[in-house]
């Protein structure tokens, strides 16, 4: 339980912070965070959480590293091309900090595995790039009472919010209700994304996880933070919980996670759901 001298030195800049201290660093060491997506958002998030000394980090992604990823997915490097993203990310995280245990899950996260995946973790990071996954993660975390950080990025814009169960604050579905209709919103493959946007927003997700674990400050619950890099403007918008929300409302109709019929650009509600 006691830190070695090397660990004290490694984490000294954390321990010096009154809001973290020795206690907070121990909490980080004992914490388990699951990052869903080892791409643009998952890259900075996984690096900062590993560097911070989060004891156990799960990372889920089914893809391999592609040349077009490297413009923003900084956990992967050119020699990693073709490698499973979760293995590439694990290697980089453990190179940054060998103290960290990394559990790689090379899988698409879906309704049939998400509850098992999140069960062992204290905090979940939605670092995915499509609406079906975002709604799936939201629903599963609400149903399993897991706190999580939502984020989304496109072009020069990003957004972020945090959900913590048991608070009078909205979930992602309270805010957005349902995925947008097919092709209403382009994917980042079609639309483009400025690389550092992933760095900004993924780092904010890591910060929310660290704050949740250590208890420092106030989380981004009850608010949506938006960032417009072209205007260099952040906006923090207060958003109430929606009593009629299909998953966290007073009479929920979603009682277990479900998959939207995939293809992020071809969304249909599943059968049996209004």
């Amino acid at each position: 339980m006691a830190f070695t001298n090397d660990q004290l030195e490694r984490y000294s800049r954390h321990i010096l912070l009154q809001e973290v201290g020795v206690k907070g660093q121990k909490k980080l060491q004992d914490a388990k965070v699951l990052i869903i997506g080892a791409g643009g958002l998952g890259s900075p998030c996984s690096l900062y959480l590993a560097a911070a000394g989060v004891g156990t980090i799960g990372i889920a992604d089914a893809d391999e590293v592609d040349l077009s990823n490297l413009q923003r997915q900084i956990v992967h490097t050119t020699p990693d091309l073709g490698k499973a993203k979760v293995l590439s990310a694990k290697e980089t995280m453990q190179a940054v900090n060998p103290d960290v245990r990394v559990n790689p899950y090379r899988t698409f996260v879906a309704a049939n595995n998400i509850l098992d995946l999140i069960a062992d973790y204290d905090f979940v990071i939605d670092a995915t790039d499509n609406f079906p996954a975002k709604f799936l993660i939201n629903d599963a975390c609400v149903l399993a009472a897991k706190p999580f950080s939502h984020a989304g990025i496109i072009r020069f814009q990003g957004q972020l919010m945090t959900y913590v169960p048991g608070q009078d604050a909205p979930c992602y579905r309270c805010v957005f209700q349902d995925p947008p209709p097919p092709d209403a919103v382009p994917t980042c493959r079609q639309a483009g994304i400025i690389g550092a946007m992933a760095g900004v927003i993924g780092s904010l997700q890591a910060l929310e996880a660290v704050k949740y674990i250590t208890g420092a400050g106030q989380l981004l619950t009850g608010h949506l933070l938006t960032y417009d890099a072209l205007k260099m403007a952040f906006r923090k918008i207060k958003i109430p919980r929606r009593k009629t929300c299909a998953v966290c409302g007073e009479h929920p109709s979603i009682l277990r996670p479900f998959d939207y019929e995939q293809a992020c650009c071809d969304l249909k509600p599943p059968e049996g759901r209004p």
Binding site: F3, L8, E9, S12, I15, L16, Q18, G21, V22, K23
Partner: protein, 81 residues
Amino acid sequence: MANPVISGAVDITDVVCPVTFVKVKVALEELEDGQVLSVRLNDGEPVQNIPRSLKEEGQRILKLTDNGDQTYTLLVRKAGD
């Protein structure tokens, strides 16, 4: 004033900033609120900064003694969170 009961001790003369203060924080962590820690520290930067940093965190400095060998002994009482 009677000398306080000392419940723990840490020597930070073999490390440099910021590990000095980190080691003091770790040592304080192991004490109960109200107990007293004795810190052996070097003259110069440590003796200038450690007492001030402790005060900023709300700890109570009881005594700073010059040991005459370019080290000091600092007694600090642990405050509650």
